[in-house]
């Protein structure tokens, strides 16, 4: 209950006076409520949502890149990794969050939420990175060897840069997926944009909060997607020539 420590979530709901007419009528959008609760409810939730997402994507990126590099060198690694991460990806978010709550040492915490969120990023980023590396043309790699590059230098200066569009595409899908799933994480870790959504529905349905918090989650995902597209373009200027 971090977000709501300072009072009820819908302070004006059912309150007296004509100032709160919109809230009492439970109209679809009450600008007054939004401006009054922006700094105490909505903005903290948005910030927490971003933090949850960034942590999950960074950890997921580290794990999946390590696994992809391993699978690139040792082909047999791919199959078991794909099987395990596919199963993790297939388990519905609600179920995975709750299953992890039952694991001793995790319980209702941010760690539990992050473990689940990370597990959803693995399949996406692992497959993208591995595919990107494997699609590096053999001639290019031969040329690097012919220039006297060792395998480490070839990886860092040839393979990874050429795989970058695929890698960033994976980060992009993973980020948007995590933003989406992090709303459900509020069930076990009361923060992020899911918290006001669940709160707005828990007693009486408070429409303004549902629409604003839900809209913010969608807007955040679209914005993150757009920013990553720009990053992809900036980092791989050569990719535009092919299209």
């Amino acid at each position: 209950m971090i977000v709501f420590a300072n009072g009820p979530v819908i302070p004006n709901f059912g309150g007296g006076g004509s100032t709160f007419a919109c809230e009492r009528a439970n109209r679809l959008f009450c600008p007054n409520w939004v401006s009054q609760n922006w700094s105490s409810v909505l903005w903290p939730a948005l910030r927490q949502h971003i933090v949850l997402t960034v942590i999950a994507v960074v950890i997921g990126f580290a794990i999946s890149t390590a696994l992809a590099l391993l699978a690139y060198r040792r082909g047999w690694v791919e199959r078991p990794v794909v099987i395990v991460t596919s199963i993790l990806y297939t388990i519905p978010s609600l179920a995975l969050f709750e299953l992890l709550v039952g694991v001793p040492g995790l319980g209702l915490s941010r760690t539990t939420a992050e473990v689940a969120l990370v597990s959803y990023t693995l399949l996406i980023m692992f497959r993208n990175t591995l595919t990107g590396l494997r699609e590096v043309p053999a001639e290019v790699r031969d040329a690097a060897a012919g220039m006297g590059m060792g395998s480490m230098r070839t990886l860092l200066r040839v393979d990874l840069p050429l795989a970058l569009p695929a890698i960033i595409a994976g980060v992009r899908i993973a980020t948007v997926t995590v933003i989406s799933l992090a709303t459900v994480a509020a069930l076990i870790d009361d923060e992020g944009l899911g918290a006001p959504i669940l709160q707005a529905i828990s007693n009486e349905v408070f429409k303004t909060e549902l629409i604003v918090a839900g809209g913010m989650a969608i807007a955040l995902a679209l914005l993150a997607d757009g920013l990553l597209v720009l990053l992809q373009r900036a980092l791989t200027p050569w990719a535009r020539v092919h299209q």
């Binding site: 297939t90 519905p92 996406i124 569009p165 679209l222």
Partner: protein, 241 residues
């Protein structure tokens, strides 16, 4: 791990808690979940498959078909459900609408990509043999597109099963999500048991669709030989979007 063995007991008791006789059985809730999910997937397929296949067949509308899929990724299911509740109120109608909204885009995008990407030489050969447009779609493009079309259907089905259970959080009662939303009655063991059932349901749904896909895929066509094209959506095909 004690709570997990209690969860298995809970499943073994068919979701009944001693002393609380009014609770619905686990089998009942599972069947309800399947029913809600299948209605959603069914309606979404009826809407999306013809659109995606037709757009792919006439090679038009790639911008719409592909960007619908990209925007879809950015729709958190809980947010869609919440906004639906605000406009339509609680109930099956809102849930099904949210399911359809979430299931239509991946099916359209993948059906479009599947049909649009069929080798033009093959289509030309069929035309040269006297096939008309409908025959080309049914006998050439559709069989060749099965793997990608099914990737879209599987993605959609997975999303729908997942969202059906999330609907319980937004007040819709009548799915396995109810148990998770009602820890006070069911305790942690019940919640874990329900989570296991949901996970199993999702995995079995995907497996079932994978088997149907295998039956429908002509011999000689497989994803290994035809690597996923870049615009397709779906966990197994998410490369290079």
């Amino acid at each position: 791990m004690n709570s997990f063995s209690q969860a298995l007991d809970f499943i073994g008791r068919n979701g009944q808690i001693p002393g609380e006789p009014q609770l619905p059985t686990l089998v009942h809730l599972t069947l309800e979940t399947i029913k809600i999910a299948w209605i959603g997937v069914g309606i979404a397929l009826v809407i999306a498959l013809p659109i995606g296949l037709w757009l792919g067949h006439i090679h038009r509308g790639s911008f719409v078909a592909i960007n619908v899929g990209n925007i879809w990724r950015a729709l958190p299911s809980l947010a869609v459900l919440a906004i639906g509740v605000a406009f339509l109120g609680l109930g099956l109608r809102n849930v099904e609408l949210a399911l359809i909204v979430l299931a239509v885009p991946p099916v359209i995008t993948n059906a479009y990509v599947a049909i649009d990407g069929v080798d033009r030489d093959v289509v030309d050969a069929a035309r040269g043999m006297g096939f008309n447009g409908w025959q080309i779609l049914r006998k050439v493009e559709l069989p060749l597109g099965v793997p990608l079309i099914f990737a879209g259907i599987r993605t959609a089905a997975l999303f729908v099963v997942s969202t059906t259970t999330i609907a319980a959080l937004t007040g819709y009662s009548g799915s396995l999500g109810d148990i998770i939303n009602n820890e006070a009655s069911y305790h942690l063991s019940g919640v874990l048991g329900a989570a296991m059932c949901i996970a199993a349901l999702a995995l079995l749904t995907d497996l079932l669709l994978a088997l149907i896909q295998r039956v429908l895929t002509p011999r000689g066509v497989s994803l290994e030989k035809h690597p996923a094209r870049t615009e397709a959506i779906g966990p197994p095909l998410a490369e290079n979007v």
